[in-house]
């Protein structure tokens, strides 16, 4: 299909009865949404499930969708809300976290490195520690940080996606970066970079 057809045009085609337009929309966004969710939930299975849920919800809501914002913003909004729900549910039922394939990294916080500077960390472990630090942000800080840093969104788009004022987005972003600075400082102070 012609890449020049924009998303909103495909939505219009879908609404006019050409259902395969939805396939093209999935093809365009499944990788982005999946990786956004993977960064957020840090678990392949859950990221896959939520990605399916995002498109499932999108399909069912698309008929009545009004192009007030970009289609991609709307899709990310669905994904962000599901990710935030996921984190809240997980916080309420921490026992489920034991099933998480990446749970052992909880024990590897950056401060451990500080107390043991001799320790040589594998690249992989370092990655886990850093992602664990990002996980310690509040769900909203995390969403703002991810969308602006890794989904290439302008703050205005992040604001639309998360239903926040642009000023609020900036506050969350600043807090997120400050928190990461505190959490990760031991990594570069020990010349671990």
């Amino acid at each position: 299909m012609d890449k020049l057809i924009d998303d909103e045009m495909l939505v219009a085609q879908f609404q006019a009865g050409r259902q395969n337009a939805f396939d093209e929309l999935m093809k365009r966004y499944k990788s982005k949404i999946f990786s956004y969710l993977l960064r957020s939930v840090r678990n392949y299975e859950d990221a896959e499930d939520i990605t399916i849920e995002v498109f499932f919800k999108a399909y069912r809501a698309l008929e009545g969708w009004q192009p007030k914002a970009k289609f991609s913003t709307w899709l990310y909004k669905i994904a962000s809300n599901l990710a935030i729900d996921y984190h809240r549910a997980k916080a309420r039922h921490p026992v489920y976290a034991l099933d998480d394939a990446e749970i052992p990294e909880v024990h590897l916080v950056a401060t451990d490195l500080h107390s043991d500077p001799e320790r040589q960390l594998e690249e992989k472990e370092r990655g886990l520690i850093i992602r664990e630090a990002v996980d310690q942000l509040s769900p909203k800080q995390k969403a703002v940080f991810m969308l602006s840093r890794y989904e290439g969104m302008q703050l205005k788009e992040v604001a639309e996606t998360l239903d926040m004022a642009e000023g609020t987005v900036k506050i969350h972003l600043h807090r997120a970066v400050k928190r990461l600075q505190t959490l990760l400082r031991p990594l570069w102070e020990n010349n671990e970079i």
Partner: protein, 206 residues
């Protein structure tokens, strides 16, 4: 001495390239003379280097993406809402044998029951070929296919319960569930036949 005010918000924005273009040049000038800010920018940049690298490791494997569409349509097919059903236009387009995968003798008696049902009702099964997904199929057709597969699977389960576990009560509730799912199709007649034979105490279809 308190830290320079700009070492938080502005330094973060500068390190993350979010500073408005007109503020960039003045801030760079400020950096030359402010140790707080240049240290802050260095440390935020280190944060971004670390997180960017760690996030890049989380690449989505192609294989994980392959089945997303299929699973979305399966998810859609599993919901029994009227809005969805009203969109379905394709019914029982072609006929064939779906039993190639049966291997054991025990299960093949169920296959016989299914074939018997098909003969009685008029072969509502689709062949595996037509059940296979193609890029060109419409979403409607695919949803319908998954729905049919779901109905078929439920019928198989009901028959397995009946013949292998001999649990009439569970078979009946499975058949009723299948019948509900099959509303609007001639699969409901198959369910009725099986329910009838179940209630009369013998499996006439076998």
């Amino acid at each position: 001495m308190p830290k320079c005010k700009k070492s938080e918000g502005q330094a973060i924005d500068y390190a993350s390239k979010l500073l408005p273009p007109e503020e960039e040049e003045p801030f760079e000038q400020h950096l030359k003379n402010c140790q707080d800010c240049s240290e802050a920018v260095a440390s935020y940049t280190a944060v971004f280097d670390l997180t960017d690298k760690a996030q890049a490791e989380l690449a989505v494997p192609e294989v994980a993406l392959k089945n997303i569409e299929m699973n979305v349509y399966k998810r859609l097919a599993a919901t029994q809402e009227q809005t969805l059903f009203s969109r379905i236009r394709t019914y029982f387009a072609s006929v064939g044998s779906p039993f190639g995968w049966y291997k054991t003798a025990a299960v093949s008696s169920i296959a016989i029951a299914l074939i018997a049902a098909a003969v009685l009702i008029g072969k509502p099964f689709q062949s595996e070929d037509t059940l296979r997904l193609t890029e060109t199929q419409s979403a409607d057709a695919r949803i319908e296919q998954y729905r049919q597969q779901g109905i078929q699977r439920n019928l198989e389960e009901a028959l397995i319960t009946q013949h292998l576990r001999n649990d009439a009560w569970e078979t009946e509730s499975q058949l009723n569930r299948m019948k509900e799912q099959a509303q609007g199709t001639n699969w409901t007649q198959i369910a009725d036949k099986h329910l009838e034979s179940l209630q009369s105490g013998n499996s006439t279809l076998q």
